[in-house]
């Protein structure tokens, strides 16, 4: 394993090092805000101690990234494949327009998480969040799965406002017993007594990663959000 001390290192330099490294495993220590780590990588395993900057794992294409700490904005932007594991919380726009792969966050995520994620054939993106999320979760979601476990303890709602606005595909699972208030018209909400198989296996994966008890999470009640219609804007226009 290659060990890189990122202290005082510019992001361009750090990322060039990561790209050109011939080892399959890299450990970045003392990471402090360097952006774009692991951009577009397809075949490495990167472990990061510290706090990576924005756009960690953008366009990720199969590589694996583990962060021991929090991450900033736009983690996994337009990610195609691979895994990002965050033993901490994540900032805004986590998993923007993700098309494949998985993001596991131990803590909370900020605003606009999972906006525009979409699925195609074998590519099914998934974002699993241990705590709660800010507003605009899964806006314009077109496919894939977002799972929010609500293990946060600050008493705030599990999701913020405008959850699933413009949603036209995919699923959002929220671990809560009541349907959140003020959901937008494009979203259909239903209470579930048990998680479907695929979602349950995501919970198990999350628990295995962060050493949490899966029985409690799997026996909880969940709310599932799905789009109300496949073509939400069809009725809006008249040919002129």
């Amino acid at each position: 394993m290659e060990r890189v001390n990122a202290e005082g290192m510019n992001y361009v330099q750090l990322n060039a090092l990561v790209r050109s490294c011939n080892q399959s495993e890299i450990r970045i220590v003392n990471c402090i805000g360097q952006r774009y780590i692991g951009t577009g990588l397809s075949d490495k395993k990167i472990t990061i101690d510290g706090t990576p900057g924005n756009a960690l794992g953008a366009y990720l294409n199969g590589a694996e990234i583990h962060v021991n700490g929090n991450v900033q904005e736009a983690t996994g932007d337009t990610m195609n494949d691979g895994t990002i594991v965050i033993a901490g919380s994540a900032g805004d726009a986590t998993g923007y327009a993700m098309r494949g792969g998985k993001i596991f966050v131990e803590g909370d995520v900020g605003y606009r998480c999972g906006i525009h994620i979409k699925a195609y054939r074998e590519n099914k993106p998934a974002i699993v969040i241990g705590g709660r999320t800010g507003s605009f979760l899964g806006e314009y979601q077109a496919g894939g799965t977002i799972l929010v476990l609500g293990l946060h303890t600050d008493g705030k709602p599990i999701v913020g406002n405008f959850c699933g606005t413009g949603m036209h595909g995919g699923e959002i699972f929220l671990r809560c017993s009541e349907i959140p208030p003020r959901l937008p018209a494009q979203v259909r909400a239903e209470k579930l007594s048990a998680l479907p198989k695929e979602a349950a296996s995501l919970v198990r994966e999350w628990c295995a990663l962060f050493g949490k008890d899966e029985r409690m999470l799997l026996s909880s009640s969940y709310v599932r959000l799905t789009p109300n219609s496949d073509n939400p804007y069809k009725q809006m226009y008249i040919a002129n």
């Binding site: 923007y96 525009h116 314009y140």
Partner: protein, 503 residues
């Protein structure tokens, strides 16, 4: 009254003496205008379905057809014309947002036509392009404005990646989905033959077209359709689409019916679902955020490809361009309010944005004033209709021009502005296989090559006339332009003198 009857906008006139009832018109019309009446043995026409695309007129072997504007009129009214009245009826009937296609058809001023190009006489002789070399080649990208030397005194190569062009014309972004596979095939082949670029738009890059990588610009829009590592690497340059001249502030929306199997594969979304690109990138709320996307794209492609940021020409275009120039982008593309589209709300298309001529002049001036003009190249689009528009755009400060509508016209488009119906009889703005096959890439690409080659000759002629032998020497050379029929304010904004004024 449930629905207002709106009389057809066009009438099909058939010359019965010429019509041989061969029924070609019937087969050519996907809108179902023409039909054969077995009882009378004659052809009939349902005018209400006609969009005036002229497919039947062009394909009638005896030239028995013509399409005219209907003479049926409402009471004459300069304020409330028939079209405006009908739009009110349509909305009262449906409650829907009016949806149109292609560029703004309203009679607003076209500043290109009020700009005139200079020519040399006597004192500064013109150059004969048939005899002298006349350079239309150029490079797009950041230029170095300072020289750095290494310890040994050698000049360090700090030049950012450049995009070479043989002509100052590129094909603008049109996605696979909004236009057909064959239309893309035409554009890609023509770009390769001409030494320029076509642009995938935001619909992904079809697997068959990776072989044209060297002549491909790929687009990254808010929906990020079809964007992945291979797509970014399969391009000569990457364009971030922030806006589009036909619909500034509005996103893209490809209806599910146009997401066929092949389009679905290229966009990487399931068949039949809507493809929605909202107006903003939800991760870009500032120039700093834009910089983040620019830099992440550069990181993803190892700093080997120029990044273009495309914006619509809007009121504060100059300030916006200044911000983009500082975001790390290599090229700014500005799209004027007359630019085309496969679908846009009518009101947005016709009322939002500003003319490209004014935006361009202001952007170029602002970047010069701030000393950052060489930090970026400028591409302008939004109704560049001829080689003369290209010459004027370059003299106003552009490096090169995007053409979209003109390219589609070369492929047979007749500007019927019905792209959103998906029934393009010319095989361009459709995904129906029987219509797509009407556009033969072998023929279409040659027509595009013809068009751009002809424009190149004309550009060379005009350059020669001005005594300029390199297109780069024309860039921002506003003394080569004079205005007519314009106000002082317009001339001031364009940075151009009135015709007849001396230097």
């Amino acid at each position: 009254m449930d629905k207002m009857y709106i009389s057809p906008e066009y009438e099909v006139i058939r010359d019965r003496d010429r019509c041989t009832v061969c029924r070609i018109c019937e087969r050519q019309c996907a809108n179902g205008v023409h039909a054969y009446n077995a009882e009378t043995g004659r052809m009939t026409a349902d005018n209400s379905r006609c969009v005036d695309c002229h497919r039947c007129v062009c394909y009638c072997p005896t030239h028995a057809l013509k399409i005219v504007r209907s003479q049926d009129t409402y009471p004459e009214n300069a304020n409330w014309d028939s079209r405006t009245i009908n739009e009110v009826y349509k909305q009262a009937d449906s409650g829907g947002v009016l949806l149109s296609s292609m560029g703004n058809p309203k009679p607003q001023p076209i500043f290109w036509d009020r700009l005139l190009v200079n020519a040399s006489q006597v004192t500064n002789p013109s150059i004969d392009p048939l005899r002298e070399p006349m350079e239309t080649r150029l490079w797009l990208g950041k230029r170095s404005t300072k020289i750095e030397r290494d310890a040994g005194g050698k000049i360090r190569d700090l030049l950012a990646p450049q995009l070479p062009l043989e002509v100052p014309i590129l094909f603008s972004a049109m996605s696979y989905g909004s236009i057909s596979y064959n239309a893309h095939a035409c554009l890609a082949r023509a770009a390769e033959a001409l030494g320029t670029y076509y642009n995938t738009g935001e619909g992904g890059l079809h697997k068959d077209f990776y072989k044209y990588s060297k002549n491909t610009i790929v687009q990254v829009a808010s929906g990020r359709f079809g964007v992945f590592q291979g797509y970014l690497e399969g391009a000569a340059a990457i364009e971030i689409k922030m806006g589009q001249g036909a619909k500034p502030g509005i996103g893209g929306h490809l209806p599910g019916m146009k997401i066929t199997e092949d389009v679905s594969e290229t966009r990487m979304i399931p068949r039949g679902t809507d493809a929605i690109s909202p107006a903003p990138h939800h991760d870009i709320y500032s120039i700093e955020d834009l910089r983040q996307l620019v830099c992440s794209l550069k990181e993803a492609t190892d700093y080997k490809k120029p990044v273009i940021v495309k914006v619509a020409a809007v009121h504060n275009a100059a300030a916006i361009a200044s911000g983009i120039a500082r975001s790390g982008a290599d090229i700014i593309a500005i799209d004027g309010y007359r630019g085309g589209t496969g679908a846009a709300p009518t009101r947005i298309r016709d009322n939002v944005g500003i003319p490209i001529e004014l935006a361009l002049a202001q952007v170029d001036q602002r970047l010069r004033d701030e000393g950052i003009r060489e930090e970026v190249s400028l591409i302008v689009g939004g109704s560049i209709r001829s080689s003369a528009d290209v010459v004027k755009a370059i003299a106003l400060g552009a490096d090169a021009c995007y053409i979209g509508t003109a390219a589609l016209l070369a492929l047979g488009c007749h500007l019927c502005r019905s792209c959103h119906t998906g029934l393009c009889n010319w095989g361009i703005a459709t995904q129906r296989p029987e219509l797509v096959e009407r556009l033969d890439p072998e023929v279409g690409y040659k027509r595009l090559v013809n068009l751009v080659t002809a424009w190149k000759h004309e550009i060379q002629e005009m350059m020669g006339g001005m005594g300029i032998n390199s297109i780069e020497a024309l860039r921002g050379n506003r003394l080569m332009l004079r205005g007519v029929g314009m106000t002082d304010r317009e001339l001031e904004l364009l940075g151009v003198r009135y015709a007849g004024e001396n230097m």
